[in-house]
Amino acid sequence: MSNAALATRSHTAITPVPASLGAGFRALLRWSLAATGAMLPLIIVIQALLAAGIILGFGLLIPNITAENALFLSSGAPTILLLTIGLAIVPQGVSSARASGAFDYQRALPVPRTMLLVVDLVVWTMIAIPGVAVGLLIAWLRFDLNFAFNWPLLIFASLLVTIAGTSVGYAIAVSMRPMLAQLISQVLVFVVLLFSPIAFPASQLPFWFQKLHEVLPIQPAADLMRAGIASDSYSFNGRDLIVLIIWTVLGLVITSRALVRRK
């Protein structure tokens, strides 16, 4: 259109109306729940199968399992399920969102980019938490155990472990190429399942590996959860809490930077 033609056309200036933080959050939550929530039934089935695999499979490896061993195994299963979601399923979802352009689409929306992370944490927590009940149900069916729940601790630990796992998984997915992130997340599942003192005591591991696990988030997560599930048999120490919180903060900082940063 020529300058003259434009000059004769008068336009009312369009002023965008910013959405309130609450409205933006609710809209994004609705979006994310619809997109990711559709996976919820499938994920519960996967968690049930994984829990059955851990509890029945490890049970087969230990002949004449004692009540003490059964409790240790059973109280570790929910941690494995929560960390599997955070360290394996979350990175795969984020990597595929990066590859498809969905990640950048949402980053171009007029909402604080850190809100995208908060919404995802909420949705993945909602998806992961049923795993605790599923794991304990299968353990109870197999071993007929009596758990001594410390409910406030169990709820707190479940939330913290989920957020820690999801934050670290998210950080892996946003800081590496999608293919590499998917590969690492799959390796991490094996580490959590087979090489971490969750389903067996740390004393079974070589000394150097025990020391390594003291600073990784996996054992602290398991200890914290165990103290909430069988509070009469296990306890946690402040160090577990500190290590978990440090990993959570690290994951959140790396992820937030990747969301906000312009390349």
Partner: protein, 334 residues
Amino acid sequence: MDNDDVLRITDLTRRFGKVVANNEVSLRVRPGEIVGLLGHNGAGKTTLVSQITGLLKPDAGDIQVGKIDAVRDPRAARRHVAVQPQEQAPIDGLTPRTAMEVAGRIRGLSVAKARATAIELAEELDIGPWLDQRALPEGGGLSGGIRRLTGFAMAIAAPTPLLILDEPTNDIDASRRRLLWQALRRRGDQGIGVLLVTHNVAEAERVVDELVIMDHGQVVATGTPAQLTGAQHTEMRLELQLPSLGGESFLKDMSFPTMRQVHSGRRRLITIAEDSAAEAIRWATAQRTTGNIEGFSLAPVTLEDSYLSLVSPTEAQNSTNTESRKNPQEFADV
């Protein structure tokens, strides 16, 4: 320069290693104006858009979105820009109705207004029958065209001063394409400034007010479609169909002046002055009789002819090998 520009880009430069994806690009979009950004794949269009939306940071230059410095304050700029990217909008798990409502809510519409807008947009774009059909992963549930229209509707769910659309008609059938262009024109008439990124010259010509043509990271031409088409249609295009490649030496013996020549497979597009038309017809008829050409046509030049002459190798620039002008920047459109 007007102070009410909704987008003003000045000398924008962005490099990827040694490749200059945007080289001192300048353009502007005024309220109510639809500006077409034309260019081949790899011309630097997507890099430009990514800098406006705060996904990439420029190496040099300015981006003003309204009164906002988008380089310094990308978050504030995002409130003034709605984007439909070239990739499909991520609506898996959502119905078009929910997707439009969510997009409206994110841009500040009330719940009631967002609901009403979704219904209005579904009518405007004729996607009513799919309004409550859920998009499923792997492209299931909704066709590519309905997904694309939903993405367009999400971008226009609430009015923003600047609207950026990247190939919005991909996958869309002809009748709904027309609806989309009409909807876009209406948004322009409401005062929204539109930056329309495309390589579909024929479609762009009908809808845009201004054109910016990019090639290898640089702006090579700007103007209205009429200006770019050339001397207000006083030029003509002689199109020759050759029987085979090679053996084109007869083209050197044309009995009338030519302005430019463009290769396109076995076609030669030759631009001539209007007053050479009669002589050109005589010459071409003689060439057809001798078998040098299979056929010819003569018509006013189109925007596509002008576009191709700006971004493609011409006879004068490259008489032997049309492939030799390929440039590493073709891979820079990230």
